[in-house]
Each structure stands twice: as structure tokens, then as C-alpha cells.
């Protein structure tokens, strides 16, 4: 079999992705290849890439696990932009040599760049295990935790870097500032950006982050000032123009914002005007009422994201999980399962459920004005628990079947342990405020785990934000998000996943007694006070008139909705789908049963 591996490594598949580890020769048997590896290294250093590549291929043909050859070939493929091959080689290096700190760090960076946070976290933890006092390992962990919506944990690792280096590296300070911004600690973040930019005034990413901070904190003039400073230093910088467009858009100066983006497109061509820019342009066009143009921009942006290696909908994985959840969570089985006890000593979660962009941020911002409710934001913990469950319940099965261990005498308290894991992580995240009885968890699509949530927190309010499914689709197509097994990469997959999840929720509700309240986004917009009263009544808290002015909530919402929730409720977002009726036609048949079930119509 001489076929080359499809990953593009240049090796035969048998010695690459189809490698059988059992056939590897012992390291002593391939010692004689060391001189070839040395020569490859030398050639690579001297820029003789072709020679180095051939030498590496020769070595790896005989000893596919030889670390030096793997490392050089990885560098070559990376340099050639053959990312798939590079990743395969890097993963192989780490696999054969789990103590290779440099390779592990490199892999973490690569995975972080691809947005594969869970995978990156696994290797980042390994890096810290290998070198617990290495600042770079902690720095990467800080970055991953910040991106994975666990900023408090990320902050810890960034501060470890400060301790370990005993220095105030400007880039690290900027990373920490971004982290604090995500925690809503704007003043601390601003101070760090100032310090970082003073120490190293020419770092683009620092200034861009700073501008984003000011924009998010509604200090549009300050944001513009930072961007002006960048413009002077890097004229026509694409990122600066994009940030400028965002700021102008938030100031409702749509024509100017669009002009910025058009100029950016002219400057960069297709290469520089990518998915992020196209989606921003689409949102501006939408605000300006140019709906056909907006939709074209959204679609082009999504398509381009896919072409650039964006993540595809994991159809089979989603289908498999949902089918198994339906099969496991049945009334008959649930009658035999215990429930976790309710902790009286710590604040309890309020779960705000809903598809991404269905109004969950609005509900969280509204509730978290209340003095007894603090905002937890999107907590990834239910997902984490589903992954950790087999280990925590000592089960050979995965979630949800691992819950069968609860029938064993030694796992009767298993749910209490899982509950405490969740609450402990929440405490670590620094979410809880003094005087709070509740905190919110608005992780979108947590409703997929409604059964598990009800077992762990049987008395927690479950507030499900319902919105016209076609409006949800408009939001899904106009934003990039990875929730829901990357379903948002196309309208059809977003609709398919939406229907799957809504059918699953229907199943849970038919099979379980839940403390569940559906709230219609449209009613929240149309009839704000009664809706807020209904939610607070349901939670068991007195009405607080400050909740009506949620847009004055000093808390910074971290998710994509933040721009909307800093404005008073507006009617434009209701039945926005009517502007895109023609473009949504292909998904109406998919969504129609749910549209009707929810009591909506298609006008």
C-alpha cells in the first residue's frame, strides 16, 4: 500500500493516520537513523527545506515515531500552510512523547486558534502538569479559561504568570485586562490597558482590545480616541476600520459605519474582508432597512467561514445524544432515580434556557438588576458535568446512561456530588455577590440537559425564553456562534437543531415534573412589567422597579447581545423575520410544526 496519507503529511497512510502503534519498532532499533535526523535539522536551519523534508520522510518511513523528524516535518508543513498535516504531526509528537512541553504548548496554541477549547484545555492542563511553574503554560491556560467563559479561573492563571515572572509584561497585562473586561470589571481592565499601552505603545492587539473595552463600556468617544491613535500609527489597518465601524454602528451612525466597511473591503479585497466583517456589514444593512443586501452579506459571511475551515454542524453526534437523552429520561425511570438535595447555605441557580439569540441575555440583564439575583452569564458547567459524569459516578458508561450508577448503593449521593461540583465552580468563578439568594446560568441550549438539571437542582426555576422560531433563525444567520454542535453554520442546520432541541424539551416536560416557566420574548418587549413580575413571582422574589430599566444595569453582558441590552426595549426585534420572509422560505417547512406548537404564525 503506497497511497499517501490524505492529511497531506507526505507520509504513506500506513505510517501516518492509519498507523498501527503495535507495529512500531523499539527506539533502540532505529538509533542508526539519528544522523539522518541531524542532517534534516541542519538542512532545515539552512533553509534547504526540500532536503530536510525528504530526510524526514525517509526517517519516518522507517520509524514513524521518531520525535526529531516529526518535529522538523511539522515545522515544514506549518510553514507551507498545510494546517491539517501540521496538526496531525503535532498531535503525534505529543502522543508519543507526552512530556514534550514545547510540542504540548504548540498544540495548545494551535487548538486555541481553531477554537477547539475543550481539546486545548486538556493539553493545557498537561502542560501545567509537566511544568507547574512555567509562565507560558499558565498564560495559555489563562487564555483558554478566558475564552471558555471561565474568566475567574483564567484570571488566576494570568496572575500566576505575574508571580512567576515577577514582571509586568505588557502583553500579559493586556490579556488580563481582556479577562477583567469579560468579568465586567471595566475600571480595573482600563487601568491595565493604560499600563500596558504605556509600557509598549505599539502593540496592535492591546490597543484593539482597549478600544473594544471602551466600546463595550459605552464610552464611544474613548473608543474612537484609541482607534484614532491606532489609525495614526497603522493607517488603513483592517482591524481598526472594523472596530471603527462597530463603534459607529453602536452610535447609530450607520452610513459612516458602512462607509468604513466599504473602504475596508476596497483596501483588502476578499482576503481581508472575511466572515466577521461581512456579518458586521449585514447587521448594519439590517439596521438601515436594506434587508436583501443584509441577508446576502450574512450568507456570504457564513459561506466564507465554512470555506475557511469553520466548524460544521455535528449532525450525527447531535442526533445520537438527543436520541439517547430521550431514551433515558422517561417517567418510569425517573420515578426510580433520586434527586439531589437542595443546599440552603449557598445561592441557588436560576436557569435561563433558550436557543442562542432568543433573548436570554435580556432576561439575565433584567433579573440581575434585582439585589437578590446576580448574573452568572453562560456557565459551561452542565456540559462539563456531562463529560465528567462517568468518572465522578465511577461508571463504565457515558452520559446520560452513566446516571444508572445512581441505583447502586455506593452512588446514592452521586447527584449531590455533581451538584456540589457545579456550585463549587460557580463560587470559584467569583459570580456570587453578597446578599444574593440566586445566580443566573444562561448557557444557551442548556435545555438539552433539562433532565440532568432537574435531577441536580430539582427546585431551581427553569425560565425558557421562547421567541418566534423564524426570528431566532434571523439572529442565527447574522451571528457566528458554536453552540448547538456548530449548528449556526447554515440556516438549514440551525433550523434542524432548533427543532431537535424543542422536541427534546417537549419530551422532558411530558416525562418530568419541572419548575419550568416559558417566557415569550415578544411579551417581554410588548408588555415588559407584567412579564418581569411574572418571572420574579415565579422565582419567589418581590418585584423591584429597577428591573424595568435593565439597560442601565452597570453589569457588562459579555455575549453577542450586549449591544442590544444596553438600550431600552425596542420593538424592531419582534417579528424581524418578516423582512427576510423570502430568504427564510427553505426552513419554514422544517420549523412549521414548532412554530404552530408555540402558537405563532407565519405571516
Amino acid at each position: 500500500m503506497t497511497q499517501l496519507c490524505p492529511c497531506g503529511s507526505g507520509l504513506r497512510a500506513l505510517h501516518c493516520c492509519s498507523l498501527n502503534v503495535a507495529t512500531l519498532p523499539p527506539p533502540e532499533a532505529t538509533r542508526h537513523l539519528m544522523p539522518l535526523v541531524e542532517r534534516a535539522l541542519q538542512a532545515h536551519r539552512q533553509g534547504a527545506t526540500a532536503t530536510a523534508e525528504q530526510l524526514c520522510l525517509d526517517v519516518l518511513e522507517l520509524a514513524p515515531d521518531r520525535p526529531g523528524a516529526l518535529s522538523i516535518l511539522y515545522e515544514i508543513r506549518k510553514g507551507q500552510g498545510r494546517h491539517e498535516a501540521a496538526e496531525v504531526l503535532l498531535r503525534r509528537m505529543v502522543r508519543f512523547d507526552p512530556n514534550n512541553f514545547l510540542a504540548t504548548n504548540e498544540l495548545v496554541l494551535l487548538l486555541l486558534g481553531r477554537g477547539l477549547l475543550a481539546d486545548a484545555e486538556t493539553h493545557a492542563r498537561n502542560a501545567i502538569r509537566i511544568a507547574p511553574e512555567n509562565p507560558q503554560a499558565h498564560n495559555l491556560m489563562g487564555m483558554i479559561m478566558t475564552e471558555a467563559h471561565r474568566p475567574a479561573v483564567g484570571e488566576y492563571h494570568y496572575r500566576r504568570v505575574l508571580e512567576l515572572t515577577n514582571a509586568r509584561d505588557p502583553i500579559l497585562l493586556a490579556n488580563l485586562a481582556w479577562n477583567l473586561k469579560n468579568q465586567g470589571r471595566m475600571e480595573e481592565a482600563r487601568a491595565l490597558y493604560e499600563e500596558s499601552a504605556t509600557a509598549a505603545p505599539d502593540i496592535r492587539q492591546t490597543l484593539l482590545g482597549w478600544a473594544r473595552l471602551e466600546e463595550a463600556d459605552r464610552k464611544f468617544d474613548s473608543a474612537s480616541a484609541v482607534l484614532d491613535r491606532m489609525e495614526a500609527k497603522w493607517p488603513n489597518d483592517p482591524a481598526v476600520r472594523l472596530s471603527r465601524a462597530v463603534v459607529l454602528g453602536r452610535m447609530k451612525r450607520y452610513d459612516e459605519a458602512l462607509r468604513e466597511l466599504d473602504q475596508l473591503a476596497a483596501l483588502t479585497g476578499d482576503d481581508g474582508f472575511g466572515p466577521t466583517e461581512l456579518l458586521e456589514k449585514g447587521r448594519l444593512l439590517d439596521q438601515m432597512g436594506r434587508f436583501d443586501d443584509a441577508f446576502t452579506a450574512f450568507q456570504t459571511g457564513k459561506r466564507m467561514a465554512m470555506e475557511r475551515g469553520g466548524l460544521q454542524y455535528m449532525d450525527a453526534v447531535a442526533d445520537n445524544l438527543i436520541t439517547r437523552l430521550r431514551g433515558f429520561f422517561t417517567a418510569g425511570r425517573l420515578r426510580t432515580l433520586p434527586r439531589a438535595g437542595v443546599r440552603q447555605d449557598v445561592p441557588q441557580p436560576i436557569f435561563i434556557l433558550g436557543f442562542p439569540r432568543s433573548g436570554t441575555t435580556l432576561i439575565e440583564q433584567t433579573l440581575s438588576v434585582h439585589p437578590r439575583i446576580c448574573a452568572g452569564d453562560e456557565l459551561p458547567l452542565m456540559n462539563d458535568i456531562s463529560g465528567l459524569m462517568p468518572r465522578m459516578l465511577a461508571s463504565p458508561l457515558t452520559y446520560p446512561e452513566a446516571l444508572a450508577e445512581l441505583w447502586m448503593g455506593d452512588q446514592r449521593e452521586g447527584l449531590d456530588n455533581l451538584r456540589d461540583y457545579y456550585l463549587q465552580k460557580v463560587a470559584q468563578m467569583g459570580i456570587l455577590q453578597p446578599g444574593a439568594a440566586w445566580f443566573t446560568d444562561k448557557m444557551p441550549l442548556n435545555e438539552t440537559h433539562l433532565g440532568l438539571i432537574a435531577l441536580l437542582f430539582p427546585q431551581s426555576p427553569l425560565i425558557h425564553v421562547i421567541r418566534h422560531p423564524l426570528d431566532v433563525m434571523v439572529s442565527a444567520i447574522s451571528n457566528l456562534f458554536t453552540h448547538g454542535f456548530n449548528c449556526s453554520h447554515s440556516l438549514e442546520t440551525a433550523a434542524l437543531h432548533y427543532v431537535r432541541v424543542m422536541d427534546l424539551v417537549q419530551h422532558y416536560r411530558a416525562e418530568m415534573a419541572l419548575r419550568y416557566l416559558p417566557i415569550r420574548y415578544e411579551e417581554m418587549v410588548e408588555d415588559q412589567e407584567p412579564t418581569i413580575r411574572a418571572i420574579l413571582d415565579f422565582v419567589g422574589e418581590d418585584f423591584d422597579p429597577r428591573c424595568l430599566a435593565f439597560h442601565e444595569n452597570s453589569r457588562h453582558a459579555r455575549t453577542a447581545s450586549y449591544a442590544q441590552v444596553t438600550e431600552p426595549l425596542y420593538d424592531r426585534s419582534r417579528f424581524r423575520y418578516r423582512n427576510y420572509r423570502r430568504q427564510l422560505e427553505p426552513v419554514i417547512p422544517i420549523l412549521r410544526p414548532v412554530i404552530e406548537r408555540l402558537g405563532y404564525t407565519v405571516d
Binding site: 417517567a331 425517573l334 420515578r335 437542595v342 430539582p458 427546585q459 421562547i466 424539551v505 417537549q506 419530551h507 422532558y508 416536560r509 411530558a510 416525562e511 418530568m512 415534573a513 419541572l514 419548575r515 419550568y516 416557566l517 416559558p518 415569550r520 411574572a534 413571582d537 415565579f538 422565582v539 419567589g540 406548537r597 408555540l598 402558537g599
Partner: protein
Amino acid sequence: MEPIPPPRPGDVPMVPVPLNELFMMAAEYERAKRWPEADRLLNHILAVAPNQADSLHLAGIVSFRLGRHTQALEQMERAIAHGVDTPLYLRNICEVYRSLGRLDEALASAQRAAALSPSDPLCLHNLSVIHYERLELDESIACADRALAMNAGLPGAHFARAEALLLRGDWAEGWEEYEWRFRIAEAAPLMPPTDRPQWDGTAFSDGRLLLVADQGFGDIIQFGRYIDWVLARCPDIVIACPPEVVSIMRQLCPSAAIAMRWEDSVPFRAYVPLSGLPRLHGTRPGNVPVQAPYLRADQARVAAWRQRLDGLVPAGFKRVGIVWAGRPTHNNDRRRSTTLASFGPIASVPRVALVSLQKGPSADQAGRYFGRAPLVNIGAEIGDYDDTMALLSSLDQMITVDTSVGHLSAALGRPTWIMLAHAPDWRWLMDREDTPWYPTVRLFRQKVAGDWADVMRRVGSALREG
């Protein structure tokens, strides 16, 4: 509904068969209650001869049996169009109209069938049933009388007469006619054949009386009140009952032996169905034995369910139990059951939480509920009637259609509102909001057949008034 006469049994042979022979086979399948097979054959016949009246009529019967009432009507209407004035078609279509709540058309068809076939007592029986459903009780009784004048041993007509008399409050005569219920062709036998006599109410102490808990769970709960009256006359009783109600029976008579299977039954001197006790007791609307509450929930279970509800229902919310559908196999289920979606006016009452005690195939409607009031689908956690009783004792109010849960709630003495079809079951009498059977029950009746919306509005208003 009368089936077509059967000529010959057997499966479809693998050789060409004339259509009339296929029709005979279909008729045989229908008679043998093998409706899907009959359906398949009739579809084949109608594909070849789409306007063949007998096939259309039989297809209508089969569709009706399979629960496809709208299709049944369409097929029967076509049968009538192609086989004008066939009394059998008219007689059968009126049952389909009745089941769809189209009572004017049902009446017209039944009258036409009776006119065309003046010596057929079944046509008059049909008319009696339709008049009952239109609450024209005098006419219902008159039609049954005419049918019985033609054939005094027609059980259906006796039973139709019984229901109309009982609903009208003429219980003395009604109970006697009610005894015909076991002779109806489709009625399940009360018990295996026995040489022991049916008890006539005379006291005896030298033998055992077998008490058969017959009919639905609601009837068992309602007539369970007579057990003390029976014990005063026959102290040694054995109760035959389904397993679901054993704990209720034990509560009503801790000393009684209980048999859940006929083979476990002990020798007895005489037997009596529970549903026959009002007749023996001589019950009239003015002397119903009322000791409500005559059932009690287990206090430990009450505490456990109350705690469960405390965690699921927001504090300060009125806990309103609901049931929207009965057992789907009940003869009257289409009329007595509604949908959860129809509870909108109740769900819009402020600070009310709906606690669903619904069981059975309709329970899944809880998953499709998006009303204003929070809904707690506690029905999913209910294991047995002991759970149900404990839950009912933890609610502020029970609102239900005419099902066993209503009886249970009422027997526990809980505040219970029962929503009734336009033509209700005889036990609820006519035109009154209360009932002599249960002091804590309030009745909400449909003013127009099938109009649950109006009932829900009135219940919603009453709930709002507190």
C-alpha cells in the same frame, strides 16, 4: 352499528377473486374485529369500484372503528349518495354524526332511518340515544319506549331509557332499567359464570357476599360509599377489584378479603356489583348516603408530596390540580375529554399554578403547554391512587373533566370543580351546580355541545373570584 352479514371467512387467496367475494371477506374481517385487514381489502375494492355503495358503507364502519371519524363520515355520505334511502346506511351514519357532535344531522338521519324502516327498533334506539345527547329526555324516553314496544328484550333500549330516567332524576325506575346494562351485547361480563345468585339486598350472616368492583375507577370510588351499608347486612364480604383500587377498597373495608384475580376468589353465597348497590339501597336524589370525606390520604405521603410541590410551585401561588382527559376507551370519552390547550382562561388567572395530575396518552400534552400559569406535570411522578390521594390533599383546588380523579378528590372532601359535557353522565343530573353525591363538588356544564371554551371562561372567572 349493525355489521354486514358474513358469508365466508378466510384470507385473501393468491388467485384473482371477484370483488363481491372480497367484499364478503372484508365484512367477515369487520365482524371479527380485524379492522386493519378489512380496511386493506376495502381500499382495494374502492380503488377499482370507487362508488360501490355497500363497500363505501362498510369502509365507513371500519374507519369509524379505527377512530378515523371524519373519514368514516365522508365514506358513509358517499355511500348514501350512491345508495339512496338505504335505512341501514342512515341508521349507521347517525352514530358517526353523533360522535362528531353534529347532532342536528344525526337526528335528521335517525328520523329518516326510522321513517324508512318503521318496524326496526334499532332505529328508535338510535333516536333515543341522540335525543339524550340533545338533552331532550322526554323524547329519548319515548323513543326507547317505542323500541321496547316492538321488542321488549332489547337491552340497548332499556339502557338508553335508564340513562335518560336517571339523568332526569327518576331514580326509582331508572335503577331498575339500569340493570339491563350487563345484557348489552358488547358489555364485558361482570364475572365468570356462576351458579350463585345476585344479591337482592336481604341481610344474611351465614355466608360470604362477593362484591364486584365493576365499571370504571370513578364508579368504584363513587359507589364504594355503600360498603358500610352492605356490611350492616352482610358482615362477611370479599371484594373483587382491579389492583389499582386495592388500597382504596382496603380503606373502605379493612376487614374484607380482596381478590384481584378470579382464581383467587373464595367461595361466596351471593354476589353483587358495586354499581348495583344504589338500586338495592333505594337511593334517590334526596337520600344519597353522604359521609364525605369517606377516603383519607396517608399523612406521610401527604407530607412528602407537599414538600415536593413546595419545591416546584412558587410560594404564594394557588395550587390548582387539573385533569383534561379521561380514559380514551370510555364510550363517552370524545365528549367528556378536552385538551390542556383549552385551559387558557384558567391559566391566565394571576398567581395560579396548574398541577397536572393527568395520566395516560393525553398526558404528553404537558410538553406542548405554553400558557401563562406555570404548569407542574406531577402526573409523571404519580405511581398509584395513594399518590394521587396524597397529592389531592396538597392542592388548594381540583379542576377536572368527568374522570376518576374528580371522584377521588370529591371523596376526600377536597374542593373539586367538575366540568361536564353538554349531555353529562346520568349521575350529575340536570341543571344544577351541586350534586347530591359530593358536598364539595361544583359542576360546570357545557351550555352548547362541544363548547369547552365557554366552560373554561366560567371556571376561570370563578377561580379569579376566589
